[in-house]
Symmetry: C2
């Protein structure tokens, strides 16, 4: 795919429009026609650049990710997790939390969306998280065979998605900090 | 509300029909008309018995709950959590996981649904869980001021909702057992 034909600014504009549409009408309601109209592109261009709706959605979400995990390296696992939380834009987290709940619903009927999200969004994100955890193991902070190492994504994503349901309140930094200290770091034995 | 006018069998039938419809068309697609048609009731009866769609949905989910937490008391916290997992009907868990993802999405646009779910489903369920945790504190298994005590619902519900997204696989008993041991009990210091 000749993604290089778009300038970074134009690509960014397109992704923003896709996320706006996702928030407005949900995954099932999102059509390539609507994206084309909203962004003044042709549908042919969209398909040439992204191949399919699931890939376009996954790349838009990846573009939008609130924290660059690969930039974080404070020297301790607690420091890395707290840095992650403090870099997070809370308003964006709440918007993303709503987006993710919508997508978690949509994957049930759209296995191609699940596959695109896993390949283009979740696995690259996991690589950043794995690197943070790998360094903690190398420093001796976490035992190499700690079974919670594989469950960090479940713990973190769960907290983001579930908080409004359980507490009736949006995700905020105080909640995430408490959760990281009381659950994630404790499970990892830090 | 004169809920007593319905026999338990009839009430059960109605709740099953509501859950079937929820799985088929989602919360936004579910209408009182469709429930009335499916269950051969009048809409007037439905409103008299349940007052509103959010309340009907919350009560149907409560009726369907896969494990009675208030029946579990094995004498240890690890035993209670493992009993919870082993009593869970895995097929129903997967069905409920899909239902919960759909509802987690719907609450974003329906604050009255969130309120009904919290009052009629989540809070009573929390009471059962609180009781299990309260006994563990009383036995000295968990420190009274452990901050993870308040976060058990987030950990558990998160695992149920997130697993398909992160691992591309449905929830099963082996995963839940690992999660309980590696995350929940570790965070609680057991």
């Amino acid at each position: 795919m000749a993604r290089s034909r778009l300038t970074p600014e134009r690509e960014s504009e397109l992704y923003e429009a896709v996320l706006d549409l996702l928030r407005e009408v949900g995954y099932d309601g999102l059509t390539m026609d609507a994206v084309a109209t909203r962004t003044h592109s042709s549908k042919a261009t969209l398909y040439r650049q992204w191949g399919s709706k699931p890939e376009l959605v996954a790349r838009a979400l990846r573009h939008n990710k609130p924290v660059r995990l690969d930039e974080i390296d404070t020297g301790s696992l607690r420091g890395d997790f707290h840095e992650m939380v403090s870099r997070a834009d809370v308003d964006q987290l709440e918007r993303d939390s709503a987006l993710m709940r919508g997508l978690a619903h949509a994957i049930h009927d759209n296995p191609d969306l699940l596959q695109a999200l896993r390949e283009l969004l979740i696995e690259p994100e996991m690589t950043g998280l794995d690197e943070i955890l790998r360094r903690a193991v190398a420093r001796g902070e976490v035992a190499q065979d700690n079974p919670a190492l594989k469950l960090v994504p479940h713990m973190m994503t769960g907290a983001l998605i579930v908080r409004p349901l359980v507490d009736g309140r949006p995700v905020d930094q105080a909640f995430l900090t408490t959760y990281v200290d009381a659950v994630v770091l404790r499970a990892l034995g830090v």
